[in-house]
Structures are given as structure tokens and as C-alpha cells.
């Protein structure tokens, strides 16, 4: 149907529309109009992706000069492919309606592992191997060597692409990963490099978070994307963790050992080159004297995404003289390495800030801050000069030099923790240096500053106002949408007690309690008898799940559950879990029914949907708090408290509840689906927990569904399931939760729709710290 969204003609490839989709598009339109950022929470399974795509594509077509590109970031490969397929559907609809072939180019970009068509390289199993092998075939000096030595193997697909692939742009159309591969095969071009090249002029790019957020990759891939782009982070509830992960470094003794070998190799290579080709090293030296001006020029034109590892002022300067020659640099690295080794030789935990670390390193081995900051750039240059084929071998020394650059660049937002052993095994010496980022805004800041609109959206973003605070940006729209339902197809229940009235909770004091474990078992047993097809149960951690499964096994509870359904359990091994998952789906498919025991924060909870009969009930055993004893977490909590005035408990609860919501939300997709959401912990009944659930779940929790016993839960569930099993036709939905075009145009309906979105009040928005202040004073200047 063709919609009129606030004056914009939007093609929507379906005959019907959910009211919340309309509302979502309205908000999105407003955000784009204002050229600002937005935070939008929309219930899972209400067609968020297609609404986003429909509106932004329409916007792009109508105002081609305002928005030139859509960068859609999603989390997993299947998600990326799904987005492309939805886009294909939309484009087919455009073609059908307008009768003309539009010249949109949309493509997915993924790692080499998913795109490589080289017969040998693509047969490797792990991404890292593929990258390494690819690099050894395509690096520039390898190809240069080929001129002198024709036997040097190169990748013919890359050669072909390099020869002709850039001259003619890829024909417009929608390219999924498989389409790219097919196209690459047809032309004999490397799909990976083709895709990387094509994203520069594509109208829509779909790829994973890392390509924008991880500075190491973003620098390579996304540097040249146009400023007038709209960036969408879908499934963004975990975006802060992605940011933090990309900036944190862990150094173990093993890393240092490998680094040692790397440095030795470097030294030998330098020695050899010095004897054979000294000119090369001289050339490098000259380049370094001139400094990084080249990069500076590029940045000034404001086309490039800034690299947080490489702060602006570095570009003004030349590489300091002390590390300019190759030998000096290697010597410098050695000293740094020895220092780190010494730091790891400790018997108690040390925690310090970056300035403290820098002070200490200056006192002990006289390493200045400045050369440290150039460490990463200097190493990159050296590796290039030395024509190192297999970069993967040098991962250890790259890691160390990245660490050096980070620690000397950022005085705030990071902490260094050195632990001599793990908490669980105090007898085994295993020292680790954690350099951990505590401020997710560091990684994402360039994105917010660079692109005109950034949309953060997910099914679970509650409470909305916390994201702008921890990511340090100022949205123009923040809205949470409810789910309009003709029948209440989700049934959240909070089970607080067993039939013996013993409180159920996974809190630390009682989690090993026999009665609690038994009650959890009974709950699962009872549910397995009444819920058809699939049940998914989530535990708070692997260790907890293993313990509970073992004691259920000893008590014979599992045997009884097996009478009703098959049991599959997530393990720490991804391949094993995949198999269990597939078998689980098979068992649901053929009518046997099955139970999947899984872990919140695990891979299953983050990436797999349990739609329709694959998940008729989700049981969340306990509140999935993060392991609070970790020092890294404690440091982060402190930082949040000091910098953003977020109390520890607020953040922990927020974090636990977003994961709980994520787990239970996996079961609902669309309004024809239905599922029970069982929160098995009495703490969920408290207002501070309940209030942090997404609005679309919260509004279905009535007073009657709080603190239930197992028996009551079973009664309510039975009632719910029986109701849901009745036929559900389109007519039941029409006009309520499903609209035709005519219905959508009625005044009354528009009135109703305007209530779906809950805007955050302006007063609350003022809690957001002003990013401008930080802008004026870059953090690294404060030392």
C-alpha cells in the first residue's frame, strides 16, 4: 500500500499494516527531518525492519540530496541476510507499483569467511584463518613480488577484480551475500573486495556493528562513507557492550611470550633487509619524518570517519625521533615488553588509571607518553616496510602496540587491572593485565559526530533514557511503542513461590538452596506437561545451569520431564549447541515437543528466535545479573556513578532486565504468534525490576500475575493456552491491530495511533549530559 507519512509518500510492500508500524514511521520521519539521532523501542516481531526500510528508502528517493546512504547495522549474519531479503521485497514492490526499474544499489558486507570464493581459502573453517590466508595472497608486496617471480601464488579473483572490477560499478540491484558470491563467480571477481569497494557508492549498506564501532575495522572499511548517511543500529540493546569490547585489551603471559618471538622475528628481518635493501628502510624513515600529513589531509576534508585510536593532534606531528628508525623502534618495543613482563610478576591485584600507568612506566623504564602514542602507527608502517606476509602471526605485537597507543591516548574512561590469578583458582598463577574500556561513548562518538542521523532501535531498550546517557549523545526523538493486540498473545507471569510457599529466587544467598532448586524443577515439570511443542528455559549463567541440571538429575526431576518432552541443553561449545538447537527444532517440528535449557547472555539468547511452536513458553529462572564480583565490572560501575550519575544498582538492574526481556522476547514474532513469558523469581515482582521491562511487556503484567505459586501459574497458563489455541482470523484483528489503508486514513484511527508512541518528556531529557562540553575539551588533553 502507499502511505502518506507526514507528507512523504511511502511504499509499504504489504496490504495491511500494524498501527505501531505507522507510528514508528512517523517518529522516524521526524528524526530524519531534524537531522538528529533517535532512540526507538518497538516490540519484537512487529515488523520493525520493514518499517525502517520503507521509510528511509522513500526518504532517500524523495530527498536524494538530504540522505544519500543508509547504513544498516545488525548483529548477526542471519539478521543481515534477513534485512536484505526484506529490502528485496520492498524493491520488488516498488518495481511493481511504479512500473520502472529503480536504480538502487543495496548490498550486504560480511567478513571474508562468508564471502570468499577462492576454492582453497574458503574451505578454511575459522574466520581468522581465512583472513590470514587471503592476506598472504593479496597483500600489495606479494603481488609486487609476482612481477619478478611468476610462481608466487596470488588470488586470481582478486587480480581480476583489481584489473577491471573498479572501472564499471556493480549493476544496481539487491545483493545478499550469496548474490555477491554468484556475481563474483560469474565475473571471476573477488566478492569481498567488490563489496568493500561498492559500499562507497551503494545506496544501502547492511553490515555488522563492528564495521562501524571497532576502530580497527572501521578505519579500513567505513572510513570513506558519506556524511549524509542515516545509520541504523538494529538490535541495539547491547550496543554499549560492543563498544566496550572493541576498545578493551587483555594481556596474558602467553601474549607476552608470543610478542617476544614476534619482536625477535622483526629484529632478524630488519637485520636481513639492512644487508640486502637498506634503501627501503631509509625511504620509510623519510616518510615518517614527513609525518602523518597524508592522513591529516584526508581528515580535513571531513569525509573520513575519525579513528579514535588516532586522535587528531597526532596528525599534526611527526613520529617522534626516538622510534623513527626501525632498530630504535624494535628496541623500544623490547623495553616496553620487559616492563609489561615485570608488571605481570605480582602477587596481589593492582588497579590503576592510565596516567598512573604512564607515570610508572616513565619512572621505571623511561618510556615517554609520546612515542607510546605512535606505537600502533609505527608498527603498521614497519610491517608494511618489512613486507610481512602473514599479519595473523603478528597479532600479539599488534595487540601490545594498540594497547600502548590506547593507554597513552585516553586518560579517562579506561582502567588497568592486573590480576595474578583467577578468583576461582587462587593457587594457579595466571597473571592477566586487563586494560578495559569503561566508557562506551568513546567508540561510538565518531559515529554520532560524523553521521547526520543515527537511529538506535531494538525490541528492548527500556529504560530509554539510559542509552543517551551511557552513549553520551543527544537524541531528538526517544519513543517507546506499545503493541496493539486484538488478543493478548503474550502472557507474562511472575512466579515467586513454590507450592510449598518457599520463595523462588536465584539470589546469591538462596541459589544453592535445595528447596529453590526443587521448586524450579517442579515448575519446569509442570509446564512441560501443559505447554504444547517447545519450551525454552533460560538460566542466569552456565555454572548455575550446570549445577541445577546436575541436582535435577540426582533428584529424578529430569527423568519425569523426559516423560513429557525431550531435553536439550546449551553447552559452552558452539558446534554442540548448534546441533542441540537443530534437534530441538526438529523435535518441535515433528510434534514430540522439547525443552531447551539455555543461558541468558549466551549465544542462543542473543541470536536465535523461537517463533511460533518453537517457543510456546519461555521460562526465565532467576534474574540474570552479571557476575558482580569481577573487578572490571566494579570499576565500570564506579565510573558510571562518577561520570554519569548512574547508581550501581540501577545499572545492574537495567542490565539484568534488558537481558531478561531479550530472552523472553525471543518467543514472540508477530501478532499471530503467542507465548507464555514466565519470570521465575520473586524479585521480578518489585517495582524497580518490573519498571525496567519494555513497555509492551510491562503493560500486560497485571496485579494478578505477580508472585504466583506454581499451581496458580499452571492454572493461568492453561487458560491462556486454551484461549490462544482458538482460531485467529484476520477479521478479528482488522481495525484493532491490523489496518487497511482506508482504516488507516480515518481521523479516529490516527488519533489512536498517536497514543501508541510514548514520547519521553523533555524534562527527563535534560538529564542527558551535554556532549558539547566534552567536545570542546578532548579527554587526552586533560593530563
Amino acid at each position: 500500500m502507499k502511505l502518506n507519512i507526514d507528507g512523504l509518500l511511502v511504499y509499504f510492500p504489504y496490504d495491511y499494516i500494524y498501527p505501531e508500524q505507522y507510528s514508528y514511521m512517523l517518529e522516524l520521519k521526524r528524526t530524519l527531518d531534524a537531522k538528529g539521532h533517535g532512540v526507538l523501542e518497538m516490540p519484537s516481531g512487529t515488523g520493525k525492519t520493514i518499517s525502517l526500510l520503507s521509510l528511509i528508502v522513500a526518504y532517500q528517493r524523495t530527498y536524494p540530496l538530504e540522505v544519500t546512504k543508509l547504513i544498516y547495522c545488525s548483529r548477526t549474519v542471519p539478521e543481515i541476510e534477513k534485512v536484505i531479503e526484506e529490502l528485496r521485497k520492498l524493491m520488488e514492490f516498488y518495481t511493481k507499483e511504479t512500473g520502472e526499474k529503480n536504480n538502487f544499489l543495496a548490498l550486504a558486507l560480511s567478513s571474508r569467511k562468508n564471502l570468499c570464493i577462492h576454492p582453497e581459502v574458503s574451505s578454511l573453517r575459522f574466520g581468522k584463518e581465512v583472513d590470514g590466508k587471503c592476506h598472504s595472497l593479496t597483500a600489495s608486496y606479494i603481488r609486487a613480488q609476482r612481477h619478478s617471480n611468476p610462481n608466487q601464488p596470488v588470488c586470481r579473483f582478486y587480480e581480476e577484480f583489481d584489473a577491471v572490477g573498479r572501472q564499471v560499478p556493480i549493476p544496481s540491484g539487491i545483493y545478499n551475500l550469496d548474490d555477491l558470491k554468484a556475481f563474483g563467480r560469474k565475473k571471476g571477481w573477488c566478492p569481498y573486495y567488490l563489496a568493500r569497494y561498492s559500499i562507497l557508492h551503494a545506496n544501502i549498506v547492511v553490515y555488522s556493528y563492528h564495521y562501524l564501532l571497532d576502530p580497527k575495522i572501521a578505519d579500513l572499511v567505513s572510513k570513506e562513507l558519506a556524511k549524509k548517511s542515516v545509520v541504523v543500529f538494529d538490535e541495539a540493546h547491547n550496543i554499549d557492550n560492543v563498544c566496550i569490547d572493541s576498545m578493551s585489551v587483555n594481556i596474558t603471559r602467553r601474549t607476552l611470550d608470543r610478542c617476544q618471538t614476534n619482536v625477535e622475528t622483526l629484529q632478524n628481518t630488519i637485520q636481513r633487509i639492512k644487508e640486502t635493501d637498506a634503501a627501503k628502510l631509509r625511504e620509510e624513515y623519510r616518510r615518517l619524518v614527513e609525518g602523518l600529513k597524508e592522513a591529516n589531509v584526508a581528515r580535513e576534508t571531513d569525509i573520513y570517519l575519525s579513528n579514535p585510536v588516532l586522535p587528531d593532534e597526532i596528525l599534526q606531528e611527526a613520529v617522534p625521533g626516538s622510534i623513527r628508525t626501525a632498530e630504535h623502534f624494535v628496541g623500544f618495543l623490547k623495553r616496553f615488553l620487559e616492563y609489561l613482563k615485570a608488571r605481570l610478576r605480582i602477587h596481589h591485584v593492582v588497579q590503576e588509571s592510565s596516567p598512573q600507568f604512564l607515570k610508572d612506566i616513565y619512572e621505571k623504564v623511561c618510556i615517554d607518553r609520546k612515542p607510546l602514542r605512535f606505537c600502533a602507527e609505527r608498527l603498521r608502517s614497519l610491517l608494511r616496510t618489512l613486507e610481512i606476509a602473514d599479519i595473523a602471526d603478528f597479532s600479539a605485537v599488534t595487540l601490545i602496540s594498540n594497547f600502548a597507543t590506547l593507554v597513552s591516548t585516553y586518560s579517562k574512561g579506561f582502567t588497568i587491572i592486573i590480576e595474578p590469578f583467577e578468583d576461582k583458582t587462587p593457587t594457579i598463577v595466571n597473571p592477566v593485565l586487563h586494560f578495559s574500556c569503561m566508557d562506551p561513548s568513546i567508540a561510538i562518538k565518531p559515529v554520532f559526530e560524523r553521521f547526520q542521523s543515527v537511529i538506535i532501535t531494538s525490541g528492548t531498550l527500556s529504560p530509554l533514557d539510559i542509552y543517551p546517557r551511557i552513549l553520551d549523545f543527544r537524541p531528538v526523538t526517544m519513543a517507546s511503542f506499545t503493541m496493539t493486540l486484538a488478543r493478548t498473545c503474550l502472557c507474562p507471569l511472575i512466579v515467586g513461590r513454590g507450592n510449598d510457599q518457599v520463595a523462588m529466587s536465584s539470589k546469591f544467598e538462596t541459589r544453592e538452596d535445595f528447596a529453590v532448586i526443587r521448586n524450579y524443577g517442579n515448575l519446569l515439570l509442570e509446564m512441560s506437561a501443559i505447554v504444547p511443542d517447545g519450551i525454552v528455559a533460560f538460566f542466569t549463567s552456565y555454572v548455575y545451569m550446570e549445577n541445577i541440571v546436575a541436582s535435577w538429575y540426582e533428584q529424578g526431576i529430569l527423568e519425569n520431564i523426559q516423560r513429557n518432552k525431550l531435553i536439550f541443553i546449551e553447552t559452552q561449545d558452539a558446534a554442540e549447541t548448534s546441533m542441540a538447537l537443530e534437534k530441538y527444532q526438529e523435535a518441535c517440528e515433528n510434534g514430540r515437543g522439547a525443552i531447551l535449557l539455555s543461558v541468558a547472555r549466551g549465544k542462543v539468547s542473543e541470536g536465535i528466535d523461537f517463533v511460533h511452536h518453537f517457543g510456546r513458553a519461555v521460562i526465565m529462572f532467576g534474574v540474570p545479573y552479571v557476575y558482580t564480583q569481577s573487578r572490571i565490572l566494579k570499576a565500570r560501575l564506579e565510573y558510571l556513578r562518577d561520570q554519569f550519575q548512574i547508581r550501581e544498582n540501577d545499572f545492574l538492574t537495567f542490565d539484568a532486565m534488558r537481558h531478561a526481556a531479550q530472552c523472553v522476547g525471543r518467543a514472540i514474532r508477530g501478532k499471530t504468534d503467542y507465548g507464555l513469558m514466565i519470570f521465575a523469581d520473586k524479585r521480578y515482582a518489585r517495582a524497580d525490576k518490573r519498571g525496567k521491562l519494555p513497555r509492551w511487556i510491562q503493560e500486560h503484567i497485571t496485579d494478578g500475575s505477580l508472585n504466583l505459586t506454581i499451581d496458580e501459574t499452571v492454572q493461568l497458563s492453561k487458560h491462556f493456552l486454551r484461549q490462544m489455541a482458538q482460531p485467529f482470523r484476520r477479521e478479528d484483528q482488522l481495525g484493532l491491530s491490523l489496518l487497511t489503508l482506508e482504516q488507516l486514513q480515518s481521523e479516529e484511527m490516527l488519533q489512536k495511533i498517536s497514543q501508541i508512541a510514548q514520547q519521553l518528556l523533555l524534562g527527563r531529557r535534560q538529564l542527558v549530559p551535554q556532549p558539547l562540553v566534552l567536545l570542546a575539551k578532548p579527554p587526552h588533553l586533560s593530563t
Binding site: 531479503e85 574466520g127 548448534s578 536465535i608 499471530t672
Partner: protein, 547 residues
């Protein structure tokens, strides 16, 4: 003695029943016992009636065999021949063990099925009462067509009969019981053994290798329950037993399953992440550590075991289906002819992706695909079969034409006020057209529901269904082309006559007594009459042909 004609499979002498010596006979269809010196059986049970047999435990002084019937009664035989009692009993037991299951399934299934049908369908039950209980037709006749009808519905499922799956908890059903003197007793049934074999083919193989020659059956199972394999992690006996190989085989099977990977790319966790962080980056505290406690290890072994067990149970249920689908996938992979999975992966992936992005309620044409009704003559469909002799019938086109004709006439009708009717003629026309008037006679008739009391109505309904059923039987015989059908049609005709005399006529008399118009049954009579006509026509034709 009718039993003489039966084949006697086993004769056991000196068997006591109710303190009386006698002889036990096991025949092809029943088990019988006669007291000594008499040539008749005082006890005789069809195998089909026996629910199960029980035996006295080993070591008991009395060696007995008990038969429990479906009715709940039981009969106990005491084997009294001192020297061979045990052997006798076991021989009888083993033979029964073979025979009983055969009869059990057949007899029970049919009875249950009939029972179920009668309970589920009140109309059928009424029909059964009307026709069978009042002996219009015999029970067999009644069921003959019914069950066939039913089996037509299930034809598909019967053709490739679904195998019964395995309960996931079958190992749990073997609950060990202590026998009081420091031992454990496991009760194994043939079902459980079959489950074990089907789920764990490795055990079956071991059984085949060892049982007759190396071990007795009992020893085999004893070892099985003692083995580390069965207990897996509960007791870690280091001893080498024949099942340790099975464990290894299982492990291998599990590994190969894992290595094979999953077919559905949507659940493949390995390729979920696009780009994993390089080693050393990230803030994850849980670095992979090898230092696991013993307890943790055993816990994860339990988890592994559950996954494996469930997978095996699932596979055992699906084995047959898989055999055919395997072939399909094999052919598809052979023309893909490379280990590059790209060639045959896309189809599954495409389908799964499409599934994942589909919103069934947003689309219009969704929903189960229906088959379009293909009508050659839509007129006949909308009018139903109309007797051909009724000389004129109008097609829908005619009707539409005439309606439009009338509409047209009405639209251009102009009252001609000079030539109106006289008032008396007009008023008489109005009375004729108002309810109760001459022209409205048909419309004014009261419906049956108002005239007739409810019990008569329900009786009439029963009559209709019964007559309908009989007529269905009757008409289903045509065309009569087999001797069996000839016989049946004659029988059916007599059944109809019987029905008329025992059911219909009493009803007619009854309604006459109640001064109701007899035309209530006219239609039934007509239907039966039509059947008679057909029958006579058929008979005369047959006579003609015979002569």
C-alpha cells in the same frame, strides 16, 4: 470337544489349578486346562482376552503362572511336577510371551476403535441402538461398512504406518528396586529392551555379538546395568567391560554429528557472529580456562549425555523417514559434487530466510492453499439434481433474464388511472393475498416443528437416520457385479422390509393415534419405495438374463 480340531502347541502335565491336578494345553488361539481324567476343559481363555501373565519369582517354593484377563479376573496355574516344574513353567511362559502380543493388538484395537467411535458419535450410537440392538441388521454388518469407511480416512496413515516413537524417559522407567538382601532388581519388559536397542544401536550390536554364545540374556542385562555405560558418571568404576566400547562409539557418533554441522543456517551458532574479536581484545572475563573442577566436569558430562540421549531418541523415531530423505539429499549432493557447501546450501537457506521475514497477517494471499472448485456445469451445482421428468426447468440465466425483464417492466410501469379496478374486486384480491387468503395457503401452513411434539420429532429424526443408513447400504450395492454384492442386496432388501415392519409401521400407527397427518412419514416411505422399485427392476432383469 471342539478343541480337537485346533493345533495344540504345548501340553504340560501335572499342572494344578484350584488345588486340582490337571493338564495345561496351549493352542493356537487359546489356552485351556482340564482336570485329570476328564476330557473337557474347565478353564479356557482366548489369548485375545488375556491382558498379561505373571510368574512367581525365582526361588519361591511354588512355581506359578498367573493369567490376568481384561475383565480383571485372574487364573493361577501351579506347576507341580517337582523335577521339571521350572522348565515347564518357563516353556509355557515363553510360548505365551510370543503368542499374546499378536492377539492383544488385533483384538484390542478393533474393540477399542468401535468403542471409541460409538462414544464419540452420538448419532452413530443411536443408529447402533436402532439397527443392531433391535436386530434389524447384525453387528458385523453394521461395522463392516463403518470400519471400512473409517479406514478410508486413515488409508494414508495405514499404508505407511507410522512407527511408534520411543518415550524419552524409558530408562527412567526401569526403576531399580532393592530386593532386601543388598541387591538391586531391574524390571525389564520387551518394550524397554526394544527401546534400548533402537536408541542405542551399539548395545544391540553387543547383544547380537555376545548373547547366545558368551552370555545368557540375563547376564547381559545384569552387566549392562552394572556398566559404567549405563550409569555414565554416577559411579566411576574403572573396570573394563563390554560396554566401554559402546561409550566410545557414542562419543564418536556425537562428534561426527557435531562436525557435520547443522543444515539450517539460521541456527548455526558458529557462523552467527560476523566478525569475532581478535584474541586479546574484549572485556569478557570468562577466558577459556582448562582448569575445571571434577564436579564441573561431571556436570558437563551429564549435559552432554542428555543432549546425546535426546538426539538418539529423536533419531530412533525418525529413522524411517530419514532413510528416504537421506536419499534425496544424497542425490542433491552428488550433483553438487564438491564439498563446497555453497552449491546445495542456498535452497534451504533461501526457504528459511523467506520464512523468517514473512508476516502472515500483513499479506493478503496467505493462508492455506485451497483447491479451486472446478465446475463443468455450474447450473447443476447450484440447483442440485433435479428430476429430469419435471418437464421444464429454468437455468439461472433464464431466471436472471426474467427478473431483469420484470424489473424493466416495473420501471416503466405507468399507472393508468382511468382504467382501475372496481373497489370490490380490489378488496377481494387483497384478502386473497393476505395471510390465510386463498392465494397464500401455502405460506400459511404451519411448520412441522409447531405441529408435532418434540419426542415425536426426535423419533422421526432417528427413523430418518436409520432409514438413511439402511438405504446407504442398499444403494452402495449397485452396480451389483459380484456374487457377494448380490447376496448383500437381497439381504438389504429384507432388512429394509424388516425395518418397515418393526420400526416404521409402529411409528405410523402412533402418529395416527395422535391424529397427526400421516404425511410425516411419506417421504421415508417414498425413499424406501424407490429402493424397492430399484430392487424389483434389478431382480426382473436378472431373471430375464437367467432364462
Amino acid at each position: 470337544m471342539a478343541a480337537l480340531s485346533e493345533e495344540v502347541l504345548l501340553v504340560v502335565k501335572r499342572v494344578r489349578q484350584r488345588k486340582q491336578d490337571g493338564t495345561l494345553y496351549l493352542m493356537t488361539e487359546r489356552i485351556a486346562w482340564g482336570p485329570e481324567g476328564k476330557d473337557r476343559f474347565t478353564v479356557s481363555h482366548l489369548y485375545a482376552d488375556i491382558r498379561c501373565q505373571k510368574i512367581s519369582p525365582d526361588g519361591k517354593a511354588k512355581i506359578q503362572l498367573q493369567l490376568v484377563l481384561h475383565t480383571g479376573e485372574s487364573t493361577t496355574f501351579h506347576f507341580a511336577n517337582e523335577s521339571t516344574a521350572l522348565k515347564d513353567r518357563d516353556a509355557a511362559k515363553d510360548l505365551l510371551q510370543q503368542l499374546l502380543p499378536k492377539f492383544k493388538k488385533k483384538a484390542n484395537k478393533e474393540l477399542e476403535e468401535k468403542n471409541r467411535m460409538l462414544q464419540e458419535d452420538p448419532v452413530l450410537f443411536q443408529l447402533y441402538k436402532d439397527l443392531v440392538v433391535s436386530q434389524v441388521i447384525s453387528a458385523e454388518e453394521f461395522w463392516a461398512s463403518r470400519l471400512k469407511l473409517n479406514s478410508v480416512d486413515h488409508a494414508l496413515s495405514n499404508n505407511n504406518k507410522q512407527e511408534v516413537g520411543i518415550s524419552a524417559a524409558f530408562l527412567a522407567d526401569i526403576r531399580p528396586q532393592t530386593d532386601g538382601c543388598n541387591g538391586l532388581k531391574y524390571n525389564l519388559t520387551s518394550d524397554i529392551i526394544e527401546s534400548i536397542f533402537r536408541t542405542y544401536p551399539a548395545v544391540k550390536q553387543k547383544y547380537a555379538e555376545n548373547v547366545p554364545h558368551n552370555l545368557t540374556e540375563k547376564e547381559f542385562w545384569t552387566r549392562f546395568f552394572q556398566s559404567h555405560y549405563f550409569h555414565r558418571d554416577r559411579i566411576n568404576t574403572g573396570q573394563q567391560d563390554i560396554f566401554s566400547e559402546c561409550a566410545k562409539q557414542d562419543e564418536k557418533g556425537l562428534k561426527s554429528m557435531v562436525v557435520q554441522g547443522v543444515k539450517n543456517p539460521m541456527v548455526d551458532l558458529m557462523s552467527l557472529e560476523d566478525k569475532t574479536l581478535d584474541e586479546g581484545y574484549g572485556s569478557l572475563t570468562a577466558l577459556p580456562n582448562s582448569s575445571k573442577t571434577v564436579k564441573e566436569n561431571s556436570n558437563s558430562a551429564i549435559i552432554k549425555r542428555f543432549n546425546h540421549h535426546s538426539a538418539m531418541v529423536l533419531a530412533a523415531g525418525l529413522r524411517k523417514v530419514e532413510a528416504s530423505s537421506d536419499q534425496a539429499s544424497e542425490t542433491s549432493s552428488t550433483d553438487g559434487n564438491s564439498r563446497d557447501s555453497d552449491f546445495f546450501q542456498p535452497p534451504i537457506k533461501k526457504v528459511k530466510l523467506q520464512e523468517a521475514i514473512e508476516y502472515e497477517d500483513l499479506q493478503n494471499e496467505s493462508g492455506p492453499k485451497t483447491i479451486a472448485l472446478n465446475l463443468k456445469k455450474s447450473d447443476r451445482y447450484s440447483h442440485g439434481p433435479v428430476p429430469l421428468q419435471s418437464h421444464h426447468y429454468s437455468t439461472s440465466q433464464d431466471i436472471i433474464n426474467s427478473v431483469s425483464c420484470i424489473q424493466e417492466e416495473i420501471s416503466c410501469y405507468k399507472p393508468c388511472l382511468t382504467r382501475v379496478m372496481s373497489s370490490s374486486a380490489a378488496s377481494s384480491a387483497i384478502t386473497a393475498l393476505s395471510p390465510g387468503g386463498v392465494l397464500m395457503q401455502a405460506g400459511a401452513q404451519q411448520t412441522i416443528s409447531q405441529l408435532v411434539s418434540t419426542d415425536v420429532q426426535s423419533e422421526l429424526k432417528h427413523l430418518y437416520t436409520a432409514a438413511g443408513e439402511l438405504l446407504r447400504h442398499f444403494w452402495s450395492c449397485f452396480p451389483v457385479n459380484t456374487p457377494f454384492l448380490e447376496e448383500k442386496v437381497v439381504k438389504m432388501q429384507s432388512n429394509l422390509e424388516r425395518f418397515q415392519s418393526t420400526k416404521l409401521h409402529p411409528f405410523q400407527e402412533k402418529i395416527q393415534r395422535e391424529y397427526l397427518s400421516t404425511n410425516l412419514t411419506n417421504h421415508v416411505e417414498e425413499m424406501i419405495q424407490a429402493a424397492y422399485n430399484k430392487f424389483h427392476a434389478w431382480q426382473t432383469r436378472r431373471m430375464l438374463r437367467k432364462t
